[in-house]
């Protein structure tokens, strides 16, 4: 949900509105000035060039005055304008959140289009020509990839894979149906409904089909923008969103097919057959390219332990290269990007440092956010720019046909799909799927790409496309939220992902695999199990650095839970006389001892005796219960998981535990001193914080500060659980066994003896939030993030 700043009554609202208006006018006036000055100053630059020439010619030329202050806009024009546009986009985003209730009613995409319209209108109003901002190259190579990468990298794999069949059917068959239905009927209308002399009757069948294929694709940008705000349940979200991503292959093929055919003019069966083949090539080829680059990226990340700073760069570069490489061969770049992001993610996240992870996350969100904003603004501007050719019949028929085609397609396909699904799609689900088929900027850019000579009716097409986009984004986008409420569609369950769920998921996976084996059927679970085994045995060893490759996913998940909870506890339990240390949770983790950075003595420890501390640690370790809910999908506006949004019962439970801790001051345990032969010795277990830096204050760092990274995203794919025993490995690791507990960094590694309770009193460790450590924390860059 967009975070709302506090607004007290109407004064805040007015202020916000006023501010936004000011921003809009400011920006557009600057634009106008920029465009105006660009014309004015070309003579100036020519003049100054001339002057320079004469200066070169004669050194004795002292007649001209030295220009103390000169205006030279031409040099900076392009970067300046780009920055202005981006600034406008960002300020708009700011502005929308200042106006309190606007974001509730109107989805952001609509507002941005309106802003674009305004800006375009102002520019045109002052007589300047509106720049053709939504250039297809810009769109496809600069604006679109960040959004898709963001979607692909954070794609929830398990729901996606479980519903893959449904998604594919919607994407492929649905899009084909839409394209042919709309194209065919439009042709019919054009031929029949109008007089033979009008422009419409000159539109050929192929052109209509091409138009149909452009307009029929559900747009991921628009879907993301709208669906993000309505928080429907995961199934519907992944269905519509997955469809919008995967139909790119179909769109690419159909577009090129019909473009080719329109150019040549004849259609043969062979060409049709080739078209079908090319679909498979495009789709699978795109995925293959993506997987290849993903593996490369994962492999590269294995070696980045010494240059942590450029780790995010690899992720971005490889993904972008995957996209571009796919585009070279006319394969589906979107699918390449998705495949690349999804494939590389588990391995990269196991390898990179906490800060790199945060960087990647934030950069992706930032870029995709800005991209999305810019796309919608440019849509508005491009609408003003034209060129338009409004044709009532064409446009209205298009809009109606799109709607009808979508509804029929969804209903028909669901009827077929439900025969194969276990969790059937209800009527409500079908309605949301149909209603959520938004068109967006991809359609416009594809239309923009059409050449005028082959397609004299290009302007009609563009106008119709824009109208459909406006209709879907405005009408459907605005009304989908109230409709979701009205129909009481299941909302996204903010369920906590508990350790129980994790355990039982794996258990059930095994159970079902076993049952399938008994039945002799090689089904879904069987192959998934095989894939997991293969993954664990070969792939992880190659792609994950060091010993983390053997860490079972359950353990990683568990650590993450504990860590988050510990942070929570520290954060909110400050009123109680606890050492603000969460060392107990750390006892579960492998630590690589690190030389102490500051030899200062421990400080800020309350006066608790050693036994009490031990007890507290034990209780904390074993009783930390508050689980952090995992963001299954991110909202563009906030990356913060509200630390206080868990339910009241948890709060109560936690307080209970606090009292327990205070009450129970018993004997010390030696639980801390567990020798562990887990095979990942040099690695650290990480828990990455889900929140912004300001959600947690940075505690003062002690000399032996353990730092914990809370990994938010790694347990997203529970299907990558690998539960094979590695008997050999366990034995080998004997001599490397480290205590499960944290050793004080001052102690060298040979202190592996199990009985480490003596060190307990030395180990006053504080938790430190790692999401935004200061620059002084650079020494923590490498590897050993001691919890």
């Amino acid at each position: 949900m967009p975070s709302r700043t506090v607004s007290h009554g109407s004064s805040g609202r007015l202020r916000g509105l006023f501010l936004m208006m000011v921003l809009v006018f400011l920006e557009s006036s600057v634009f106008t000035l920029a465009f105006a000055s660009s014309d004015q100053h070309s003579p100036t630059t020519a003049h100054s060039d001339g002057r320079k020439a004469t200066d070169h010619g004669s050194h004795n030329n002292t007649g001209k005055a030295f220009p103390v202050l000169d205006l030279n806009y031409e040099n900076v024009r392009v970067p300046f304008e780009i920055s202005l546009w981006v600034l406008l986009a960002s300020l708009m985003k700011l502005g929308f959140h200042l106006v309190p209730h606007l974001s509730n009613i109107v989805p952001e995409s609509c507002l941005l289009i309106v802003v674009g319209l305004l800006v375009g209108g102002i520019i045109r109003g002052t007589g300047e020509t509106v720049p053709p901002v939504l250039d297809s190259k810009l769109f496809f190579y600069i604006l679109l990839p960040p959004i898709i990468l963001d979607a692909g990298y954070f794609l929830p794999i398990r729901p996606f894979m479980e519903n893959l069949g449904t998604i594919l059917i919607f994407a492929v068959v649905g899009t084909l149906w839409n394209a042919f239905f709309v194209g065919g009927l439009l042709y019919g209308v054009c031929q029949i409904g109008t007089e033979s002399s009008s422009i419409l009757s000159r539109i050929g069948l192929l052109q209509c089909l091409l138009f149909g294929s452009i307009i029929s694709a559900v747009d991921p940008v628009a879907v993301l923008a709208v669906f993000e705000e309505i928080h429907i349940n995961e199934l519907l979200h992944i269905l519509v969103f997955g469809e919008s991503l995967l139909n790119d292959a179909v769109t690419v093929v159909l577009y090129h097919l019909f473009e080719e055919f329109s150019g040549i003019g004849t259609v043969t069966l062979v060409k049709g057959f080739l078209g079908v083949i090319s679909f498979f090539v495009v789709a699978l080829g795109g995925v293959l390219v993506g997987v290849l680059y993903g593996i490369l990226a994962a492999f590269t990340s294995r070696f980045t332990s010494h240059t942590r700073v450029i780790e995010p760069l690899f992720v971005f570069l490889y993904s972008y290269m995957a996209y571009l490489s796919a585009e070279i061969f006319h394969l589906s770049g979107i699918m390449a990007l998705i495949a690349c992001g999804a494939v590389m993610r588990p391995y990269v996240e196991a390898n990179i440092s906490h800060k790199s992870h945060t960087t990647i996350k934030y950069f992706l969100k930032m870029w995709s956010s800005v991209s999305e904003t810019l796309i919608f603004i440019f849509l508005g501007v491009a609408t003003v720019a034209g060129p338009h050719d409004w044709n009532w019949t064409f446009v209205t028929v298009t809009v109606i046909l799109c709607l009808v085609a979508r509804v029929i397609g969804v209903v028909g396909l669901t009827f077929i799909i439900n025969k194969f699904r276990i969790v059937k799609l209800t009527t409500k689900d079908q309605f949301i799927i149909a209603y959520g088929g938004l068109r967006g900027a991809i359609a416009f850019s594809l239309g923009f790409l059409l050449e005028k000579d082959h397609f004299p009716e290009r302007e009609i097409f563009l106008t119709a496309i824009i109208t459909v986009i406006f209709f879907t984004v405005f009408v459907q986008g605005m009304t989908i939220k109230p409709l979701v409420e009205l129909l009481a569609v299941k909302k996204k369950q903010e369920a906590k992902r508990s350790i129980n769920e994790e355990i039982h998921t794996q258990f059930l996976d095994h159970l079902l695999t076993g049952i399938e084996d008994i039945c002799g059927h090689y089904g879904h679970h069987h192959w998934k199990d095989k894939l997991n085994r293969f993954n664990k045995k070969y792939v992880k060893k190659c792609l994950i650095a060091g010993e983390r490759s053997k860490e079972p996913q359950l353990i990683a998940f568990y650590h993450k839970m504990e860590m988050k909870q510990a942070i929570q506890l520290v954060e909110s339990g400050g009123g109680i006389k606890l050492p603000s240390a969460m060392p107990s949770t750390v006892s579960m983790q492998n630590i690589q001892p690190r030389p102490p950075t500051k030899p200062a003595a421990e400080r800020a420890i309350p006066q608790l005796s050693k036994t009490k501390e031990e007890e507290i640690r034990k209780i904390l370790r074993t009783n930390l219960q508050r689980t952090r809910q995992r963001l299954r999908s991110y909202n563009r506006h906030t990356l913060v998981a509200d630390p206080y949004e868990d339910g009241l019962s948890d709060l109560f439970l936690k307080k209970q535990k606090m009292f327990q801790i205070e009450k129970k001051l018993k004997e010390m345990n030696t639980y801390l001193t567990v020798p562990a032969p887990p095979p990942d010795s040099p690695t650290m277990c990480r828990a990455r914080l889900a929140s912004d830096p300001q959600a947690y204050s940075i505690k003062p760092a002690l000399n032996k500060v353990p730092m914990i990274q809370v990994d938010l995203a790694s347990p997203q794919s529970p299907d990558s659980v690998n539960l094979l025993d590695e008997f050999g490995q366990a034995n080998q690791q004997e001599e490397e066994e480290q205590g499960l507990m944290m050793k004080p960094p001052s102690r060298p590694r040979e202190g592996k003896k199990p009985g480490e309770e003596d060190e307990a009193k030395d180990q006053q460790k504080l938790m430190r939030c790692l999401s935004d450590p200061g620059p002084s924390a650079d020494e923590d860059e490498d590897g050993a993030f001691l919890p």
Binding site: L235, L512, D517, C519, Y522, L554
Partner: protein, 228 residues
Amino acid sequence: MDQTGFSSAHLLRLYDRFECLDRDNRGYLSPNDFEAVGGLAMNPIGGRIIDAFFSSGQDTVDFSSFVRILAHFRPTDRNRNKEGTQQELPNSRTRKLKFAFQLYDLDRDGKISREELLQVLRAMLGLQVTKEQLQSIAERAIQEADLDKDDAISFDEFKKVLGFFLLQSQSLVPDRMKRIPPLRMILALTCSGVLPSLVHLSPSTETMMEVRPKSRDRIIRALQVCRT
């Protein structure tokens, strides 16, 4: 057969599979037969699954029990009205969960105690983790789920913890148990040498396809077996 809710074609396939597993053609299955199934050996909870087929005390499974157990895994019929049935249908969600629960709860005391959970975790995670790690995980799991503070997870708590999660996912039904469309059933029964059905590809299906004349007899036989 009505108890299990399987259709005839399903039964046929299961009977084939039963016969396939029953290599000595004794008419019942023993644990050895189950262990011969390849995947189960590698499955961490394979032993438990096998044990689930054998009700207490017996060491043989006849076809009706076989089918009855597998009936738990049929897809839940959402709209079937249960009026008049005292018992729940074997494939209702509760029964599925109960089945899974029983796999945890080996001593059948109705609760998953800490030790039982530890055993499951040990089986699933193998030797890669230490005892203390396992204990922490088990501890945490119990604390999360345990609402009546008896230090064990009862069936109701189990249901509650998993309830939402399982509603959303399709995870409780293996592919084999999905309903076969009538068309495919007809194909399966009347044609031989036809391409095996696209979804259900298994050795037993293929053998079924070949033996056309016997198919009707087999159905009858299977049904008879079931009714006993």
